[in-house]
């Protein structure tokens, strides 16, 4: 509900919801929202508005994304560690059952897809699946609940779904990419270079063409991995925000908007699980490819 006074239009409401709480370095000479000018040498500060965030460039950090992401990661670690401490070969119950179900699910997926022997893959897949799922799950919390509460408490911007932040999804995708490169080189050694240069046309003359194609193919993997998750979650979040904006249009829209909200939320349960699963499976597949020697 865009109930921040009459001064806020629907588009302002949407933009506000899509702005991260950002801490960063404004360049020297930048004129801030209140007319003050940043001193020479720049200044580290909380950004106010999308323009300032753009001006900060790379020297900025999305505080909300980081807090929610790391917080959910810690929640995952705490929850699963608690079970790991209590895990016995006896009869499991309650939370242990649930966690073991997740572990079993991830383990069987890894077994089906990854045929090598690597003790990293299964824990990696588990972390990705649960963490991404938890981050996506934040999408089901009503869009205004936490941002608006925090706004009343004095925090101006808040985006609580970390996976709608491309930095978060690309950060994970780059992590996967680093592992892909590491294992490609570790397992194949020089074979990795051959794979990049002598595929698909096995002739010395074609090395530049091959190299170009293979490198593009290689880089496409982390990009598609990170942007797929980001795109799905961003679009989903956007629709939640649009439905929420409907509430402010008029009384007539109250019921349809509520129904839409419920419908989209139910559908989104599927989407967030599926996206977490896809991210996990693709990670396993990419790492499996990195291990396969041609």
């Amino acid at each position: 509900m865009a109930a921040n006074g009459d001064s806020q239009t629907v588009s302002e409401y949407i933009v506000h919801h899509l702005t991260n709480l950002t801490y960063g370095k404004l360049p020297g000479g930048y004129e801030r929202y209140d007319g003050s000018v940043v001193a020479e040498g720049g200044q580290w500060t909380m950004a106010h508005g999308a323009d300032e965030i753009t001006a900060m460039g790379f020297n900025a950090i999305h505080v909300d994304s980081m807090i929610w992401s790391v917080g959910l990661g810690l929640l995952f670690c705490w929850l699963f560690r608690r079970v790991a401490v209590r895990a016995t070969s006896g009869v499991p119950s309650g939370l242990v059952n649930f966690v073991e179900m997740v572990v079993e699910f991830v383990d069987s997926t890894v077994r089906d897809t990854f045929h090598g022997r690597n003790p990293l893959i299964a824990p990696l897949a588990l972390t990705i699946f649960v963490w991404v799922f938890l981050m996506n799950l934040m999408d089901l919390i009503p869009v205004d609940l936490i941002p608006h509460s925090l706004m009343l408490a004095g925090v101006e911007y808040q985006k609580i779904v970390p996976s709608t932040d491309p930095n978060i999804t690309m950060g994970m995708a780059i992590g996967v990419f680093v592992l892909m490169l590491f294992y490609s080189i570790k397992v194949k050694g020089f074979g990795f270079v051959k794979e990049l240069t002598l595929n698909p046309f096995n002739h010395p003359l074609f090395i530049p063409v091959n190299l170009f194609m293979e490198v593009v193919g290689l880089l496409a993997k982390p990009f598609s991995l990170g942007l797929r998750l980001f795109g799905n979650m961003y679009a989903g979040e956007m629709i939640f925000i649009l439905i929420a904006a409907l509430f402010s249009v008029g009384l007539f829209w109250l019921l349809p908007a509520a129904l839409l909200q419920i419908g989209w939320a139910i559908f989104h349960i599927l989407v967030i699980t599926l996206q977490a699963f896809i991210f996990m499976v693709l990670t396993i597949v990419y790492l499996s490819m990195a291990h396969e020697d041609h």
Partner: protein
């Protein structure tokens, strides 16, 4: 869409969480699950074995039972035979005893009869002698005619 330091921050957090999971979460849970799987497999195998053992034991018990029945039947048969033999023996003994008793009784009767006869003869002869004495008075000497009287007694 602003790409900024958040990317690096997330990358670091990601690696830290994966490392934590790999070191402290996955091995205990997966280990406990594998152990439980083994225990269940062992338990099932033990149950199978126990079932098999039970069957074998049942078979053995049946065999023992049949054997015992056979033995019992044998014992009963032997006992019957023995009883029959005892009865037979007793019958024989009884018959023999009866015969013996009968024989003894007959002998005794015969003896008694002979004695009675002898006694009777003696009395009769004495009576006859007395009668004759009375008749003949002193004419007949008892000693002299003793042989004659004896032969008479024997004849009667």
């Amino acid at each position: 869409m602003n790409i900024n330091l958040t990317l690096i921050g997330q990358l670091i957090a990601f690696m830290a969480f994966v490392a934590f999971c790999m070191r402290y979460v996955w091995p205990p849970i997966a280990g406990a699950m594998a152990e439980r799987q083994n225990r269940i497999a062992d338990g099932l195998a033990a149950a199978d074995r126990a079932g098999h053992d039970l069957e074998v034991a049942k078979q053995q018990a049946d065999e023992r039972l049949a054997e015992a029945k056979r033995e019992a039947a044998g014992i009963i048969e032997a006992a019957n035979k023995r009883a029959q033999a005892v009865v037979e023996e007793a019958k024989d003994a009884a018959i023999a005893e009866a015969d013996r008793v009968k024989a003894a009784a007959a002998a005794e009767i015969e003896q008694e009869r002979a004695r009675a006869q002898e006694q009777l003869m003696t009395q009769v002869s004495a009576l006859a002698l007395a009668g004759a004495e009375k008749i003949l008075a002193a004419e007949i000497d008892a000693d002299k005619h003793a042989d004659l009287l004896k032969s008479l007694a024997a004849e009667s």
